[in-house]
């Protein structure tokens, strides 16, 4: 528990936490405002589709889907940065030399990331909704659907699913950086895996839906294209995707724990 609380404290002071959240919210806001501001220049179906992003209640799930898609890349980078820095800065070494459990330290450090991802998700969604309201006003779209009880009733479940999906993506970054034993190599490899999965969709369209980032995107059922691969890849059914995501999450944490236990720590 001490390590978990210390982990939260460390992440709260860590610049990467705020940079990651800031980038996500900034990009989300930029796209929503840009879509709203240029909607008037389009006509017909194109205008209607672009305005879906700022039309409530559908905007809720579209914003969440967008966060899930872009957040996946940020999550893998964030997870890799946190795990990799423990090796690069030698702080894991210091903890182990004090008699701390290797896998316990790593898993409790990741538990702190899980909390931060949850907080970040809520903040990003809140910021996205605020920007979408502003965008709706710019585009002259009604915000009457903002209080749609049916949609709002589903949001906790959708949020929980999205949280789990982003946590899985963060766990992948965490595991990759642990294997790489380096912050920079971990981030680089994490980004490589993320884009490699998208690239694989060209050759392995039937398999790629089971891969971690695509499965994570499919966990929240939306009609949007915010996730990696967009709508070109066949998606898993949300509940199946949830199981696949849990399997990837467990696998990533298992790899992290086993590798850390067996690693020869130097540097």
């Amino acid at each position: 528990m001490r390590i978990f609380v210390a982990g939260i404290r460390k992440l709260l002071r860590r610049p990467a936490t705020f940079v990651t959240l800031g980038l996500l919210v900034g990009l989300l806001g930029l796209i929503l405002i840009a879509v709203s501001a240029t909607a008037g220049q389009r006509t017909g179906r194109a205008a209607q589709e672009s305005l879906l992003l700022v039309t409530f209640p559908g905007a809720y799930s579209l914003i969440l889907s967008f966060i899930l898609g872009l957040g996946g890349l940020f999550a893998v980078i964030y997870g890799a940065a946190i795990a990799g820095s423990e090796w690069t800065w030698g702080t894991l070494k210091a903890a182990v030399a004090r008699g701390e459990s290797r896998s316990g330290y790593q898993l409790l450090s990741f538990a702190a990331i899980v909390v931060m991802v949850g907080v970040g998700l809520v903040l990003a969604l809140a910021a996205g909704v605020v920007v979408a309201i502003i965008g709706a006003n710019i585009a002259g779209v009604s915000t009457a659907g903002l209080n749609d009880t049916e949609t709002l009733g589903k949001m906790p479940e959708l949020m929980a699913r999205a949280w789990l999906a982003i946590v899985e993506e963060g766990a992948l970054g965490f595991a990759i950086a642990t294997l790489a034993r380096s912050q920079l190599a971990g981030i680089g490899a994490g980004i490589g895996v993320y884009f490699g999965e998208q690239f694989a969709s060209i050759f392995l369209p039937d398999i790629v839906k089971y891969l971690p980032f695509n499965a994570a995107t499919a966990v929240v059922a939306t009609s949007g294209t915010g996730g990696p691969g967009g709508g070109a890849i066949a998606r898993l059914e949300p509940n199946v995707a949830l199981l696949v995501v849990v399997a990837w999450l467990m696998g990533a944490l298992l790899v992290t724990a086993i590798f850390t236990e067996r690693a020869e720590i130097s540097g």
Binding site: A6, R9, A97, E264
Partner: protein, 341 residues
Amino acid sequence: MTNDGLALATRGLQKRFGTRPALAGLDLSVPSGVVYGFLGPNGAGKTTTMRLLTGLIHPDAGTIEVLGRSFGRADRHRLFEVGALIESPSFYPYLSGRDNLRALAATGAPTGPGRIEELLELVGLRERGKDKVQTYSLGMKQRLGIAAALLSDPRLLLLDEPANGLDPAGIVAMRETLRHLAAQGKTVFVSSHVLGEVQQLADVIGIIAAGRLVREGPIDQLLLGEGAVRIRVELAEVDAARTALVPLVGDAMVEAIAGDDGWLAVHIAATRASEVNRALAQAGIYASALEAGNDLESLFLELTRGEAGASHEGTFFGLAGSNDAPPPRSGAADASTGGPS
């Protein structure tokens, strides 16, 4: 394995990295309540030993005993009574010194209330405790590293090059702190390249070369037992001086030290330096300098000479431990004014 009275013991410790042996059967015996100086040339296996002693890596063969109890993969709790500073200090650069100690205190053995402030005061970082570590100098990071090693008030302290980056006042303060800890019954195991520092600090030393312990014992005994008296005479008088000294110690015990500067080494107990001086004077030869006893540097070079080629990093420009090394100067005294020191 039980080694009563030892804070730390290793028996037949072996470790390889690939095909390269780092330790080839290391037998260390570190008594409790002393400052133990762990010396060796680059690549001799010092840091590998430190990593093994803190469970960062695991031995291929051999045993480790920490504070009287066996230490293996499943015995990480033994380290609750050990404080360590291995290689460079490890901190989160974006956190303050104080917050780094708090983060570290969340691991391993519990840390008493007020301990962090006490340690920041001890290492002279109380005023800078709120500043981020990335703004610290090398010496300040080193001091914080020493504070981190002391967090859980350990019975055994393992320090790798603790004087690294410290200013002279910091070195003196560190030495006093470590001596104070030893006086309290704690054991301090210090790996260092700074031989003069170890000579001032350690009660017992161990010298490692090519992964093996080549000498271990109380520093005073080692320096006296391995003693030599070094004299410097006019170049033209070297042969005459040698002839004058042979009756005192025998032919094989007088040798010229490398270089054409008139230094001779007489292998005789340091306490008999005056006899050497007298024998020379009786032969009408007056030494321009005389050094009595062995210093740690010459002992170190003597013991690790020949092992350097077997060590993993070689020697600096091929000079260390060679016969071309200049004679030691520590303890030198002008024979005409001060006599043997």
